[in-house]
Symmetry: C2
Subunit: 199 residues, 2 copies
Amino acid sequence: MVINHNGRYKSDRRTLKRLVILRSAAGVFRRRGYDRAGMREIADGLGVTTGVLYYHFRDKGELLYFCQDYSLGRMLEEGARIRREKGAPATRLRRLIEAQLTCMLDELQGSAAHLEFATLPPRLLKKVVAKRDRYERLMRGIVSKGIRAGAFRRRDPKLVTLAILGAINWTIKWYRPDGGQSATKIAREFADYLIKGLA
Amino acid sequence: MVINHNGRYKSDRRTLKRLVILRSAAGVFRRRGYDRAGMREIADGLGVTTGVLYYHFRDKGELLYFCQDYSLGRMLEEGARIRREKGAPATRLRRLIEAQLTCMLDELQGSAAHLEFATLPPRLLKKVVAKRDRYERLMRGIVSKGIRAGAFRRRDPKLVTLAILGAINWTIKWYRPDGGQSATKIAREFADYLIKGLA
């Protein structure tokens, strides 16, 4: 895996191929659950042999780690961009909420894989938890700043952030790509509702 | 198990004993995770032999089912009471959110056990899912009624309900009874924030 000096994945061909696999695997994880998803099923979904799959990922665990590390990396990158932007706190929080939901529901197909922490080996788990904590701090920073600036109502920024993350993360329990609600609509409605609570 | 004609648990001595066990077991589930929690550990925490435990619950699975069935039953009972009461939609929704959080964080010690559906055998799972769906409909009913009455802002009641349930259910991922935030404070702040989004 090539990671550049910002800790981001470089868009080389190898990573792009891994992303194609990830997207397909995420769909299998969602339908079957991570535990029951097999490498053969993931390969079948892509129309490739398991050999091709194993060339890119040593095992399902490595695929899971890539899923979590990549998605948190994307969310942190997007978050850093949003934090640098000028704009009202509500606009920035809206962008962050929408970006996270799009990443989770669209790119990862609403699979729970990026939250299946328990199965990772300790060394990798530590890395993922560190990134997850960074993301939580990033969101809390936007909420706190908005409260200090008087743009948001005075509330406990930690609890508000946990409520927002809970509403977002819980979508993986009920979201279905072929359900009645599109990822875009969910992202917009959730952002509207969750920001209004701070107004 | 004695269940009366409303599907509620009767407060007989046997049920009360099971509740004492449940409360202790929920603490073990939270600290160790359901999979790793052992019947011996649960018995030790109560200062009884495993024999006593097995007298009340055939196995860990039966304890889990009781946990889910009882907590959903409590929430439905409380919900039915709230629905019958007169009062502004915001007051009723507040009571429901606070009651659910109190049940989850206080009575069940913030354990994830009542959401560990995957391990239940199909027959019991079906019952639990039916109760869970009834509870979701109950909350959505209060939200929809508030929107129709003009007390709440026009939003998609289904998505708002899922956002509220997500924020609440996610607390089991981060809540610690010995953490800085009491269950009462979390319940109040969450209710405040989640209802304001509908104002």
